[in-house]
């Protein structure tokens, strides 16, 4: 009753901290952090940042609480924690890229990209990854040609056609299990299959492609499945109500609506397998020369190349880093393509 009878209070304006205050506090905290780091023994960047962060979190919350009130103080604290978590998460990524870029740039260049390893031995610093790039493109390409249609069709079956029941459950479980297959097992499996059906003499990029496809398919299934489930049922019904057959509805409405997410998922799956080393070590091995035939003969690939060069030690290590840089650049280019595709195809004007 009293709640009704008391007149509503006007909306209060809270006093807010000026926008420079967080930065000022941050600067102060860093100074305090440096001092604390000195006090605790010796001055290290890690120590300074760590102490500084703790001091900042406490200081900004306390200041905010006294000026702005409890709700804003909690907001400041949460913002600090979330931003901190984000920064910590980016540390490995940035330091990895920076490390590979600095070490790799020693050998990396146009010559490196256009040269193979024929006639390179000992302490020679020439040689490159042209043959390994070709091999990686072949092997990953074969894997993609097999895994992408297979994965998309499986996902379409699971989401659009499968009735709830043992078959659907079995497929889902198998896909989950396949996601967890160690990559070396996939390599041995592909190797054995080809030994049995083609003979022990046969070596080619195809075997590596099959091994990678085995690893890639479940990833594609999983991500496409998620994307298809996000397409609202109303859109399917709208198409049905116009007399559109089910398969056309799937192709032109469901897949079309989900294309951006599907592309991203496929790119993730490619990135997942392009750096696989173990299965390629046992299936395609390594050669020094360019092999343009995907169906005959051993072929070099970037991950195996990195592995071998690093294992050789000496000046070869620089080549390993440069090849690793090449691999990262390829993955980043693929990512860029995926982003462009999803930007171009994603539904526009959705609120």
């Amino acid at each position: 009753m009293s709640a009704v009878s008391t007149p509503p209070r006007p909306v209060r304006r809270t006093r807010r901290l000026p926008s420079f205050v967080p930065w000022a506090v941050l600067a102060g905290s860093v100074v305090v952090g440096v001092l604390l780091s000195l006090l605790s023994g010796e001055l290290t960047p890690t120590g300074a940042i760590l102490f500084g962060a703790v001091v900042y979190a406490i200081a900004i919350t306390a200041i905010s609480a006294s000026v702005e009130g409890g709700r804003w103080a909690r907001d400041r604290l949460a913002t600090t924690l979330v931003t901190g978590a984000f920064l910590i998460a980016t540390i490995p990524l940035i330091s990895l890229v920076a490390l590979v870029a600095t070490r790799g740039s020693l050998r990396f260049g146009w010559r490196f990209l256009n040269d193979d390893m024929v006639g390179i031995f000992g302490a020679m610093t020439e040689g490159g990854v042209y043959h390994a790039i070709i091999g990686t493109v072949y092997v990953t390409g074969i894997a993609a040609i097999v895994a992408i249609p297979l994965g998309i069709l499986t996902a379409v079956y699971l989401v659009e056609y499968a009735q709830p029941g043992p078959l659907k459950r079995a497929i889902t479980v198998l896909v989950d299990v396949m996601t967890g297959i160690p990559s070396i097992v996939a390599g041995l499996f592909a190797y054995t299959v080809f030994v049995i059906f083609v003979g022990p003499q046969y070596k080619s990029a195809l075997i590596g492609g099959v091994a990678l496809a085995l690893l890639m398919t479940p990833v594609v299934v999983r991500s496409v499945e998620e994307m298809l489930r996000l397409v609202p049922n109303e859109l399917r019904e709208a198409a049905y109500a116009l007399g559109v057959p089910k398969w056309l509805t799937i192709v032109k409405v469901v897949l079309r609506t989900a294309i951006a997410g599907i592309t991203t998922g496929i790119m993730i799956s490619i990135a997942r397998v392009i750096g696989e080393t173990a299965p390629l070590l046992v299936t395609v091995g390594l050669v020094n020369n360019v092999n343009f035939d995907a169906f005959d003969g051993r072929i070099a690939t970037l991950p195996v190349y990195v592995f071998r060069q690093y294992a050789q030690g000496g000046v070869s290590v620089d080549r390993a880093w440069a090849a690793a840089l090449t691999l990262i650049i390829i993955v980043m280019l693929l990512n860029l393509v995926a982003r462009l595709v999803s930007k171009f195809f994603s539904p526009k004007g959705v609120r």
Partner: protein
């Protein structure tokens, strides 16, 4: 070219749940049939059985007959896709295709079916359908913008345009005006009046005045309680239903003395 639908002893299920029971009614050609009744009594469910949209829900099934043009829609060998090409539908919630432009949304029935249409005819179809849905003036300068960039009410009218662009025999409308302002509502009602010269229209509405204004016949659905199936209580000419219905429940509902 419009067709009548005769429904007899229709039972509609969601899995084991009987949602609508024992409906027998006729929807006359070239007329508007209104379905009214409290929320949850199965109006949408019943409406969706008329173009076999009900069965796209897993586990959903239908017993009984719905005869259009001498053919039982649920008979052996009847292709639901064919049924839906003749019986169009506007849904309770607007659902334009987000990946398509406004123009493509109107032509969706053609484009999604992989049919070709000469440019001039396509333009004509788009304009005619959008004018019919009272949307033309608002969108004629931005036909290439995405359909989802429209307001909720505009989206609903876009969906109406999409449904009439394929010129079905029968048009089912599930509360088509629940998201519309009075002016657009009036335009849609005018449209229904016009369309009924050529089409059979079945409309679900919660708006008594609307049912009284647009429909020739009205059917009243009711439900005995939660978990019970919905029934068709009575069906008659709209003027009779709104002046002297034979059932007490109908009178109570129409006059707002329900529950």
């Amino acid at each position: 070219m419009s067709k009548r639908i005769d429904v007899s002893d229709l039972n509609v299920y969601y899995g084991d749940f009987l949602a609508v029971e024992g409906v027998t009614m006729a929807m006359e050609a070239r007329s508007v049939t209104a379905l009214i009744g409290p929320s949850g009594c199965g109006k949408s469910t019943f409406l969706r059985t008329l173009n076999r949209m009900h069965e796209v829900i897993p586990g959903a099934r239908v017993e009984g007959k719905a005869v259009m043009d001498g053919v039982d829609l649920y008979g052996k060998g009847v292709d639901p896709v064919e049924v839906r090409r003749q019986v169009g539908m506007v849904f309770q919630r607007p659902n334009p295709f987000p990946t398509m432009s406004i123009a493509d949304n109107v032509l969706a029935g053609v484009k999604l079916n992989n049919r070709r249409m000469p440019r001039a005819l396509a333009q004509e179809t788009i304009e005619k359908a959008l004018v019919g849905a009272n949307l033309w003036n608002e969108v004629k300068d931005r036909l290439e913008r995405p359909g989802s960039s429209l307001s909720g009410g505009q989206q609903q009218r876009l969906c109406i345009a999409r449904a009439i662009a394929v010129e079905p025999q029968v048009l089912l409308m599930d509360e088509p005006c629940s998201a519309l302002d009075p002016i657009s509502t009036l335009a849609i009602e005018d449209l229904m009046n016009e369309l009924k010269n050529d089409y059979t229209i079945v409309i679900v509405t919660h708006n008594m005045q609307q049912a009284a204004r647009v429909s020739d016949r009205t059917g009243f659905f009711n439900i005995a309680g939660t978990g019970k199936p919905g029934h068709l209580i009575e069906m008659d000419d709209t003027s009779v239903m709104f002046s002297s219905p034979s059932e007490k429940a109908t009178e109570d509902y129409i006059s707002g003395r329900f529950g």
